[in-house]
Each structure stands twice: as structure tokens, then as C-alpha cells.
């Protein structure tokens, strides 16, 4: 089993001109990347902007990516550099930033809030996702819950989980899949049930 093989398959497809494969990489790593960037900036909206910039930089630099390191290591490095540069450039012009804020009227704040998606609807939706996923995890049978938590929280490989749970690797794969399916089913019920924002799940 080759580590990072799935990322590399997607990367090779992007390098051959398949933009859809890059979508999959963004979907997979967007949360991790935003979380990483938030070590440097507190504002979630700013963190998202930086993460977006990092993804775009990564896309443009992908022709030079040879796969010597794991894709996510390479991507994280780009994100960290982008975040550091953003912090430096922001710190260099704090006066301009303040002036801009002071000179603009109230509409600035409104636009800023809308852009940040810090609307009550957005926050409720976020909480709802969390509570749905957490409730679904709690409802899982013990062996499925242990498998998915060991994978997602501890970052263990299937082989390590198999050793920890004293079962074959194939069983681990099946348990993690079934856990995800159960959680996913609950998520789809929530989002297809009326909020009408299933398209934003990705």
C-alpha cells in the first residue's frame, strides 16, 4: 500500500489538465488547511481567503510538483508561507487598514459581515452540521465508532487500527466505510430536508 497514492493519482490528473481532480483535492484538504492557517490569523474569513490563495498558488505550481514529498506536506508549506506573508503585509500597513475602516461608512461592516458568512443562518448551519455528525457518531456501534475515531482523530493507518482492534485490515476498511456511510446518511437527511444548502456541503 503506497502512502499518498490517492493524492498522487489526483495530482497526476491535474497535471494532465483535469481541473476536476483538483476539486477533489480542495474538498479533501480545505478544512485542514483553514485550521492550519488559523494558527496565524484569528479571523476565520481571513483564514479562508489565505487558504483559497494557497490552493490557487498550489494549482499554478503543480507542474513543478514531482511527488518527492507528500502532496499535503507540499500544500501545507505553501499555505504556511502564504499565511506568514499575509500577516507580514497586514502588520506593515495597520494604519491604512484602520483608515480604510474609518473612512468607509456603515456599508463596509455590512459587506464584511456578509462576505464572512457570519450570518445567523451560516452559524446555525455550522452548528447543525456539528450536532448531526456528533449525534451520528454517538449512535454508531462501538466497533465502527472506534475505527473511525482512531482513523480521523488519531490519524492511524488501517494496519495500525487493525493491530489496535485485533482484527484484519479488511475489517477495518469495512468498519470505517460503514461508519462514514451511516454519518453521511444523517448529513444528507439534514441538508436535503429543507435547508436547501446541500450544494455548499462540499
Amino acid at each position: 500500500m503506497s502512502a499518498d497514492a490517492s493524492d498522487l493519482s489526483l495530482v497526476r490528473r491535474v497535471q494532465r489538465g483535469d481541473k476536476g481532480a483538483f476539486d477533489a483535492l480542495v474538498l479533501k484538504y480545505q478544512h485542514k488547511l483553514v485550521k492550519l492557517v488559523m494558527r496565524y490569523v484569528r479571523n476565520p474569513a481571513e483564514a479562508e481567503d489565505i487558504a483559497q490563495e494557497a490552493f490557487i498558488k498550489a494549482y499554478r505550481a503543480l507542474p513543478q510538483f514531482r511527488g518527492d514529498s507528500a502532496f499535503y506536506t507540499w500544500l501545507y508549506r505553501i499555505a504556511i508561507n502564504t499565511a506568514k506573508n499575509a500577516v507580514v503585509s497586514r502588520d506593515r500597513s495597520p494604519v491604512e487598514y484602520d483608515l480604510d475602516r474609518n473612512n468607509n461608512d456603515e456599508s463596509y461592516d455590512m459587506q464584511g459581515r456578509m462576505k464572512d458568512s457570519e450570518t445567523p443562518e451560516g452559524l446555525v448551519l455550522t452548528d447543525e452540521i456539528r450536532s448531526t455528525v456528533n449525534a451520528a457518531i454517538d449512535a454508531l456501534p462501538e466497533d465502527l465508532r472506534t475505527a473511525i475515531v482512531l482513523r480521523e482523530l488519531e490519524g492511524l493507518s488501517y494496519e495500525e487500527i487493525a493491530a489496535a482492534m485485533d482484527c484484519p485490515v479488511g475489517t477495518v476498511r469495512s468498519r470505517i466505510f460503514r461508519a462514514r456511510e451511516a454519518i453521511d446518511r444523517r448529513l444528507r437527511e439534514v441538508f436535503e430536508g429543507g435547508l436547501g444548502r446541500a450544494e455548499e456541503l462540499g
Binding site: 497514492a5 490517492s6 497526476r12 477533489a24 479533501k28 485542514k32 473511525i148 456511510e181 448529513l187 444548502r197
Partner: protein, 208 residues
């Protein structure tokens, strides 16, 4: 949706799928929107379990990135052959670099030598011939005396020292072997010389 396919997708998400299967699934994933949405939800589940609280899980970041990239041209379709070329080029780069460095060093040495006489040469010319200052013969009535030969003036070493310093200062542009050859050539060229100039053709030969 095929359960086996979904199971493979879950394994691929965890980097636990065989590379050959990854290739096939990656192709399908890049085109199938339903599969991609499921893939995105797997990422959300992971984010919630890890309690990535700073992240707004409904953030349409992927959509924003996608919108920007729509305006971008697709990456070159023949990256793989270009990689092979790059590998081949990378193999030749040290040799090409060494050749360029040697050429630069040669030109620099020739240029330095062609400039106004170096300090060492001036000293050598101004210094009167050593024989003139030495007593040639004992005068009658004077006792024999032994003359201790003076050490060579340090100024004679200046040209090579300067050149050596120059080479060391520009060592970034030359490889270690060429640099060592040049430095040793300077030292050996000074041994018989008393301020005489080394033939440029020799320097060129050494540098190359």
C-alpha cells in the same frame, strides 16, 4: 451508488487504496459530481471528529477556488515527458555550471592580468637587483664575511594571493575541483617566479 465503489472511495480518502485502483477512481472522481460531493462530506466528518472549531463547515471554499480556477488555463497535458527532460537537464546542470564557472574564472584571470601592473610587479620592478646590493668580492684587507641571504620579499606573493582571493570569493560559481586546481596552480606558479608573469596560455590550460 455501487457500495463497492463507495468503499473504495472511503479507502482512497484514507490513502489506503492500491495505486492502480486509485488511478481508476481518481479519473471517475474528477468527473462524477455525486462522488465528489460524497468525498467532500467525508472531509466534513473528519473535520467534525477532529473538532476543527475554527472552520465554518459550510464554507464554500472549494466553490470559490473552483470559480477562480475556471479562468485559469488547464495545466499542460504533457507534464510527464517534460519531467523526463527536466531530469535529463538536471543531470547536465552541474557540468554546464562547472564549464561556465571555469570560463568565467579564465576570463577574469586574463582580465586581471591585462590590467595595470599588479602591486607585486611594481615592487619587483622597483626593487633593485639583489646582486647589486651584495658584495661581490672581498676587498683586500677586509676579512671574509658571510652574508646571510635575505628572505624573499612578501610582496612577490601578492599577485597570486589576489587571484586566489578572487577565486575564493567567487567560489560559488565554480566547482570544488576546478577551484582547487586553480589555487594550486597559483601557488606552484609562484615558486620559481620572482614577480614574473605566468604565461597566460598556461593559466587558460589550468583553468580548463
Amino acid at each position: 451508488m455501487n457500495e463497492e465503489l463507495d468503499s473504495q472511495l472511503s479507502a482512497m480518502f484514507d490513502d489506503e487504496l492500491l495505486p492502480a485502483e486509485c488511478e481508476l477512481l481518481a479519473r471517475r472522481l474528477s468527473r462524477d459530481e455525486h462522488l465528489k460531493a460524497r468525498w467532500g462530506r467525508y472531509a466534513i466528518v473528519g473535520a467534525v471528529i477532529r473538532a476543527e472549531r475554527g472552520v465554518r463547515l459550510n464554507a464554500p471554499l472549494a466553490g470559490r477556488v473552483n470559480a477562480v480556477l475556471l479562468a485559469e488555463p488547464a495545466l499542460a497535458a504533457h507534464t510527464a515527458p517534460r519531467d523526463r527532460n527536466q531530469v535529463r537537464l538536471r543531470w547536465w546542470q552541474p557540468l554546464a555550471g562547472a564549464a561556465v564557472a571555469a570560463g568565467v574564472a579564465t576570463v577574469s584571470i586574463m582580465w586581471l592580468r591585462a590590467q595595470a601592473p599588479l602591486p607585486g610587479q611594481l615592487v619587483a620592478q622597483v626593487t633593485p637587483p639583489r646582486q647589486a646590493s651584495l658584495p661581490t668580492a672581498s676587498s683586500p684587507g677586509q676579512g671574509d664575511s658571510y652574508i646571510v641571504p635575505r628572505p624573499k620579499p612578501a610582496a612577490v606573493m601578492v599577485p597570486s594571493t589576489e587571484l586566489a582571493n578572487y577565486v575564493v570569493a567567487h567560489s560559488v560559481f565554480s566547482n570544488p575541483v576546478t577551484r582547487r586546481n586553480l589555487l594550486s596552480a597559483f601557488m606552484t606558479s609562484e615558486a620559481p617566479a620572482t614577480g614574473t608573469q605566468e604565461p597566460q596560455s598556461n593559466v587558460k590550460a589550468i583553468a580548463q
